[in-house]
């Protein structure tokens, strides 16, 4: 499998650290290396009069981790992803991606940052007049990969996402799940260290969604850090990965191997208290870093 051989390759600016006498500094830089995405008190305000889209969010996502971002529409999930891609600037706070403060990346080097990050969307965003092969190859062409490299790599990636033999199909001839697989292939064909997925299963039925999750999991197994924003509780519950829950721009829950809905009740609140209380002890092992607030599933749907 060639998709991900070693994520450190994908961030050329992340060179081996120069020998540093200062131990503390060395320790700090090691920590940066382990962490793929790091938010330090990040606030993003789009409109001065409205509440911030992200409100002093601090978060770390390690290399090779698989994390779900959950929360209602407007909770700040997309803003989080946009800040990682440097599509927007944080109003305050610092965003590190692969050890680099994105605020310090000059605009002409932003493309390089983005080459290290694959992105998948709910609406696939394929080019309708190009076939499957050309859609995936497009991502390599625009960054100047040679034709022979493209010829070798694309079929391999298509195989990884389970689209062998469908190179010549046009997007409209594919099912939604297959289209999303093409989009994933395009996102990972340049072997990024990070894969961001914004509601990748939002347009798909549950069975197809599970197939897509299998592909994302496979990519994650190969060492790519995956951050997936989603509303899909079945998937989150099935995968049992880290869950970061956002509400009104704040992180209200951050649990490892968690479920979509928090299992930690707050005394005297919520009609879901009862069914949640049954598993209270189990969930307690993963104490959230922030305030506990159980959310009802109905809120989400």
């Amino acid at each position: 499998m060639r998709i991900v051989e070693g994520p450190e390759l994908y961030f050329p600016q992340e060179k081996a650290p120069a020998p540093v006498a200062d131990l503390a500094h060395k320790a700090a830089s090691c920590r940066v290396y382990r962490v793929m995405i790091r938010f330090e008190n990040v606030t993003k305000v789009y409109d001065q009069n409205a509440r911030p889209a992200l409100d002093s969010v601090s978060l770390e996502i390690d290399r090779g981790e698989f994390a779900f971002l959950v929360g209602a529409s407007g909770s700040g999930k997309s803003t989080f992803l946009r800040l990682v891609l440097k599509e927007d600037r944080a109003t305050s706070g610092i965003v590190y991606v692969a050890g680099q403060n994105v605020a310090n990346i000059s605009s002409w080097r932003v493309p390089r940052l983005r080459r290290g990050i694959g992105v998948v969307f709910q609406d696939f965003r394929l080019l309708p007049q190009k076939n499957v092969f050309a859609n995936v190859a497009f991502a390599m062409q625009v960054i100047g990969k040679s034709r022979s490299v493209i010829r070798d790599t694309v079929p391999e990636v298509l195989k990884t996402v389970g689209l062998e033999g469908k190179e010549r199909r046009m997007p409209h001839e594919l099912s939604g799940g297959e289209q999303q697989r093409v989009a994933i292939a395009r996102a990972v064909v340049n072997r990024p260290g990070i894969l961001l997925a914004d509601e990748p299963t939002g347009n798909l039925d549950p069975t197809t969604s599970m197939g897509i999750m299998g592909v994302l999991d496979k990519i994650n197994q190969n060492g790519t850090t995956v951050v997936m924003a989603t509303h899909d509780d079945d998937i989150v519950n099935e995968m049992r990965k880290r869950v970061v829950e956002l509400k009104n721009g704040k992180v209200i829950r951050d649990e490892a191997r968690a479920l979509y809905t928090s299992m930690i009740p707050v005394v005297g609140q919520s009609r879901r208290l009862k069914d949640a209380s049954g598993r209270e002890e189990a969930a307690d092992a993963n104490l959230p870093r922030t305030d506990r607030s159980p959310r009802s599933r109905e809120d989400q749907l």
Binding site: I117, V142, I143, G144, R186
Partner: protein
């Protein structure tokens, strides 16, 4: 690979936006034709000025073989008459009005004539003998032309005294006015061209926003994303400029070369080859025009 990719993008952009591209070509064509016309008028003025125009004001033509003027009763000017005229020019009475003067022999006259009329068939039928020798005078004050004229017109050996500047200046002022008009029209058309190129690029960027969005996400550099759009505008403008250059060449070749030079054989016209000197300037202007307007448009309408 990247070059091929960019070329492919340009091709698809041009095809998708064909009607707009054609209008950009036509507008740049018209505007640059007017720019070129102004340039051609200036070239023509230079051509007509000939060798002496900027150096002297007054010419004293000496008698030749067939001269019929009163001063030419003795036939072709003799060396003595010529010497007398030179002495007179150097005498204080005359020299106070002139800066300097030069003698143009028949051979010199032939040489200058050949240069000025190089594009005209007339040059083949003229020999040095047919051209008069002359004294060319640079006046301190061109208004004092009358003094020279009165002094020399009746001298033996002098055929005629001409203030060349007076003859040509009126014509030149008309031609300068014409080139001013051409430049003004060109200015308006250029504004048109700039706006049209901007609109075209904007449409093009909009119709391909899906592609550019994906290019951005996978980390394509700014150049790879923007270059196809810029080159689209530039290619259209270059085609327009080439058409304008062709038109100017055709005007010089068919109108000036084949029609006007037969109607006015004693006027020196510019050659079609000279108008081709304007072509690089027009093409350069087109490139700069299209390049800047599309660059500025992209800055606003294409996020990178």
């Amino acid at each position: 690979m990247r070059l091929q990719f960019i070329l492919g993008e340009i091709g698809s952009g041009l095809r998708r936006n064909l009607s707009m591209v054609v209008s950009v070509i036509l507008v740049t064509f018209v505007s640059l034709t007017f720019v070129g016309a102004a340039g051609m008028l200036q070239l023509q003025i230079n051509q007509m000025k000939g060798y002496w125009y900027d150096k002297v004001q007054v010419a004293i033509f000496l008698c030749g073989d067939g001269s019929t003027a009163a001063g030419c009763a003795t036939g072709t000017v003799t060396p003595e008459q010529q010497e007398n005229l030179r002495t007179l020019l150097e005498s204080p009475a005359v020299s106070q009005y002139i800066n300097d003067f030069q003698f143009e022999s028949k051979e010199d006259a032939y040489k200058h004539f050949k240069e000025q009329f190089s594009n005209s068939p007339i040059v083949d039928s003229v020999t040095p003998d047919q051209l008069p020798a002359s004294f060319r005078i640079n006046m301190k004050d061109p208004e004092k032309y009358e003094i020279i004229s009165e002094t020399f017109a009746s001298q033996p050996g002098v055929e005629t005294v001409i203030d060349q500047r007076q003859v040509l200046e009126r014509l030149f002022s008309v031609m300068n006015a014409a080139s001013l008009v051409a430049v003004s029209i060109a200015g308006v058309m250029t504004v048109c061209a700039i706006l049209l190129i901007a609109t075209t690029i904007r449409l093009s960027a909009f119709s391909r926003r899906r592609e550019t969005g994906i290019m951005r996400l996978v980390g394509a550099s700014k150049i790879v994303i923007q270059l196809p759009f810029i080159l689209e505008g530039v290619i259209a403008a270059v085609i327009g400029a080439a058409m304008a250059s062709g038109t100017l060449w055709a005007v010089a070749h068919f109108f000036l070369g084949e029609y006007m030079s037969k109607q006015y054989p004693d006027t020196a016209f510019i050659s079609p080859a000279q108008t081709l000197l304007l072509a690089p300037a027009l093409i350069g202007l087109g490139v700069v025009l299209a390049g800047t307007s599309s660059l500025l448009t992209l800055r606003r309408y294409l996020r990178v």
